[in-house]
Symmetry: D2
Subunit: 378 residues, 4 copies
């Protein structure tokens, strides 16, 4: 395990020392921007930060672009080869924000070089790749996190608290869908190519639904799925539909599609328990719908002083955005690194990443073969 | 086929004659109340009515209760045996609002006695019973309608118009769920007993979803389902979850459950086409959500003078209720009887009732056997 | 006071006798249709009805139209002169659904002929006319109701119960607006003419807001208003805006306009108390928004067995419509007539109609003269 | 006017030079945190930034707290006397995030020392103070901005675009309310003290409503207001209610209160024009409700690539938060400084701050004296 550098950042009013941690990042596009913003923001908004991120270097293949990203986000250096990141002793945390086909190898290499790792979801392009990644990183003894960031939306964490407290009783239903509308976009997009992405809407969107289903409800035992590809010639799923059965007896549906006009980023889920229900829509991410007993749904504006993560932010009703989930996620990871504490259960580990991949694979098998598939883990 | 009585009801301002039709009803509970109200209301709100209902007699086994119902709703007589209704020549339309186990035999008998028939959904307790009912009634040459009343909600008919016009482009998704919360109710309820009801949430709620899926999107080719019974000892499904594939390539989910606290009568569906989307929630039945292209969802308050069925009602924005769907439905049936026109496509025929039953059976087979099931018709 | 005819309608299962009451109606347009429907519906849906309405006669000036209305709604006769209604001994309840300029004289005449009276709102075209109507009808000793039907929406009655119980604490705010969009309609419409209507949006829409403010919060002491007429040449207000102070210290706003595109029938109000808040929108009339303490707003779907008026209708979640408010209103009036009980506090009396008119007049004076106006009653 | 320092921050890929600007801040509480976050965020999210903020120093009276704030937000130094900021040549932009009683003197001094200034709203505690501040700062020839940040919410800017384009036709109504619930909070809070705050809910919340009314609709000519103080002994308004008339003939209401349980940060407004309507709720700040003609309200999720400010952020549907309004606001100010362009019309200048104060004063006079008040400017 890598040693955390003891660069004292000065003391806070409480007298606490803040140590630093060197971050090396792979990728500078959508996810690179989101992670970079999160490191920079947590440094002063979650105060004192568990560790103070030092942005050591960012890697990418297009030199002009990666150089610009380094300037923009304040990385001290840029690299055109991720191996240079792995070889850099100043990098203590390797942040893989690259495309799916660049998840496994660099992440494993970084971990085996003693760096903590965070990798964007899906962990691998299939269960095999995900399993291999998990096993080798686990063996390296470093902290690992699969970036299922929606666990770190305040309303989702509040839902977890409500469910864990038993207020919903026995969970009987989960229905989750992640719907977007851009599936007809043309051009050379890696997310539409099986060799690069592994799957289509399933790994991109469905994996998020699967992860929250596992986080909020529990393990999924069985799935029965269909997929559909609307664009001729595309070799990944444009949509996936599945029924699911959980170990605790709950049943429900999981769906992902990029062919839903008007749905910009509609990750919705509803959970029904024997004593109440919860519902959520990512397009209104500051709100949790809560029906206690049969009382009807109350809109909880998740922004009170005692709501999850809210101590970092603003007075009630001053809403936060999608990007803030990454601030909370990386804050959680840095805390785990600082304290040598577990990333789980609130953070997704590589084991969670692997388990989501097994479920994705089971859905694809079911879609192909026509039967329900049991989910089993290695 | 029964002859429509030529009892002139006076002329309207347009000089039109309104003939009467004798109605005999079986059942006086929830559905009996809804149908009775509809006959009485359409007589003056849909003006002039296609035929003027004459409430000849109502049948039920509990004499005190059925006598009270006759007084309440204005039936001229009551009967404690439905066979007396069938034998009554004044009855030209037999309205079966009884429990599922009383659908087939009385309905067939009435049709074979030359009466037009409307039967509550599900048509039969399974596909066999439904098929038999359809075949024999069809052979009798009378008008037949399966009371899938939600086809007659103005927002649903407007959705049908929008889809038929091509404004949504190719339909790619249907996701429908009918969720209620009363599944834990105790007592001797026929809806929880397989011999009386045929199935649980599937026939009661899921059949409505299936019918609207067929009405709005088209035939369903394949299903993959799970069921769950939460209450020990109950022999019907408390919940059903299914993936579905339509003949036109659309895919989606269908779900029904009575175990969703806070969901009072939440029949929701969303349809995504290549050019736009529609969404509906029965708890806000006057509203249709419509995203044209990618523009975001507009709340259409379905109450304009040129909206479906609205010529019978009020100025815009003066909302109607759930019961009004029955007024529209029976108005449609009486029109078909008067004009000897087709009940389909807007009204559900017994063939539609049978087809919904085949899909229900396919879901139950899939749930039991684990594989996806093709839907085939006899 | 008129005697209620003792025509027994048969006994209900409970053995209760239902007596009849002869109804004479003035007007067959929008409100005549709504009231007629209500009499016909309450006769069997509120079972047993307090009194069984006998539709004796309907009056209107256009013979062809009123004859058609009589046929349509089942009035035994029609009259082209309202005086014939007043002179008809079979008429025990005079229902004035005519335009504003026909409120005072026929209503007073009917009352002085010993008939109970219900009159559409606003009671008169101004406070003077309203006061005269109230005084003379009151002196006649009959039951009188001003048809502020929104008091009889289940969500409004539930709000009244919540406020009366003290659950909201001290009421500190009321903000109500009644917004529609049809103000640009052209043609010879009596609602746009001062001599016929008295005022514009104020008497038509604002009077409803004022009445609910009084019903839910209490008497209004002071107003400060502005009016605006957008259509050149029109002699009534197209919009009115007012601040209001209540006797209990609450402050707020009242607004009415017919110039709000997209607002079909948007009568919205919000009440804030020291312990909670309520909010309502007529376009979603089955819902009451309720924030207990600071907990956020819960959507109460007002359709439970123990919710106001719901014993007459359907299982929960099976929504009712705008027209049902009239069923409840007339049921309340018939009960008061049968039992010789008070129309107030849940029903609006002519005193309430007069008081609303004083507030309207105070708003118009304030708008004209520029100062706030105290509301005083004679 | 201060010279912008020519510290080149490196070139972007486009080859542009980014110069720096020294920022001195007064105040480190709620607004200090929001402004600091905005400077830090715009430095990389709005790329390249118009000027690169150099956080020179932050001033406050509590040394321990201000020292901690400097460490937290990365100010190079802290000061316990704001005069030291004014005297610091490195400070080119003076950001006044202090309480209302510290707005005028430090801001004027900074401007007269040649620094650009941004001051939190309300500009002064009354119109006199605001006018004096505006006049002296204007005379100093520096850029000045009054921090009415809600102009910089994407949905608000989009509304401005829609209105400016004429799509709404003539504006006929504005109704705005800013409602919160914390008015019963106890303790020594400067916002509840007249000498420190100037007014209560009016200056704190109502000023925001007034500013957006002016920005979106135009100048307000006349007001008629009431105020109410619910807490005994408090010398500021707990709530203000006002009718307003605009120069263009539109009429409406403006309201502010901190006594609305369940309303966390509910700044809502609706604008009706002759051709359409817009509506907004700050608790759902990413959404704009738009009714084109009479079509019903469409929820525009303001997050498309071509929506205002969105080029800085994320793919569509990935929502931003309240804090982002400050990023856009300061980006706008830095652009005006860099280009020597006007802060108006999209940014509020000190003249806008003064005009809002005149309207607030007119409301207070109206409330006290009982008559409507014309709004006149010096």
């Amino acid at each position: 395990m890598s040693e955390v550098g003891f660069v004292t950042m000065g003391k806070t009013s409480g007298g606490e020392e803040v140590k630093s941690i060197g971050v090396g990042m792979l990728g500078y596009a959508f996810m690179g921007k989101a992670h970079s913003n999160a490191y920079k923001t947590l440094a002063y908004m979650t105060w004192p930060p568990p560790l103070m991120p030092q942005l050591v270097a960012i890697a990418g293949r297009n030199e002009e672009a990666v150089a610009e990203a380094a300037r923009r986000y304040g990385f001290a250096e840029y690299k055109t080869d991720w191996k240079a990141l792995v070889a850099d002793d100043r990098v203590e945390l390797f942040d893989n924000a690259g495309p799916n086909n660049l998840h496994a190898e660099p992440t494993i290499a970084a971990a085996e070089a003693g760096k903590h790792v965070i990798c964007e979801k899906p962990l691998g392009r299939d269960a095999d790749e995900s399993y291999e990644t998990w096993q080798r990183v686990q063996a390296a003894g470093v902290k690992h996190m699969c970036a299922f960031n929606y666990r770190f939306v305040p309303a989702v964490r509040l839902a977890h608290q409500i469910i864990s407290s038993g207020e919903l009783g026995d969970i009987q239903h989960f229905r989750g869908a992640y719907l977007q509308e851009w599936g007809t976009t043309e051009g050379d997009i890696w997310r539409f190519q099986k060799d690069l992405a592994g799957s289509g809407s399933l790994g991109d969107l469905g994996a998020h639904v699967i992860d929250l289903a596992r986080y909020l409800v529990g393990e999924i035992d069985e799935v029965g799925a269909m997929t559909q590809t609307f664009i001729p010639g595309r070799d990944v799923d444009d949509a996936v539909e599945s029924v699911v059965r959980f170990g605790n007896g709950a049943v429900g549906t999981i769906e992902a599609s990029r062919f839903c006009p008007g749905r910009k980023n509609a990750f919705t889920w509803e959970i029904n328990g024997s004593k109440g229900s919860l519902a959520f829509d990512l397009e209104r991410l500051n709100e949790l719908q809560y029906s206690e007993g049969n009382e009807g749904f109350r809109t909880v504006l998740v922004s009170e002083a005692d709501h999850p993560f809210w101590e970092h932010w603003w007075p009630q009703g001053h809403m936060i955005g999608w990007e803030h989930s990454f601030v909370h996620e990386l804050h959680h990871l840095l805390t785990a690194i600082r304290d040598d504490s577990d990333v789980a259960p609130h953070g997704a580990t590589f084991e969670d990443g692997y388990r989501a991949a097994e479920i994705c694979d089971a859905m694809l098998r079911s879609a192909e073969q026509g039967g329900r598939e049991s989910v089993t883990y290695r």
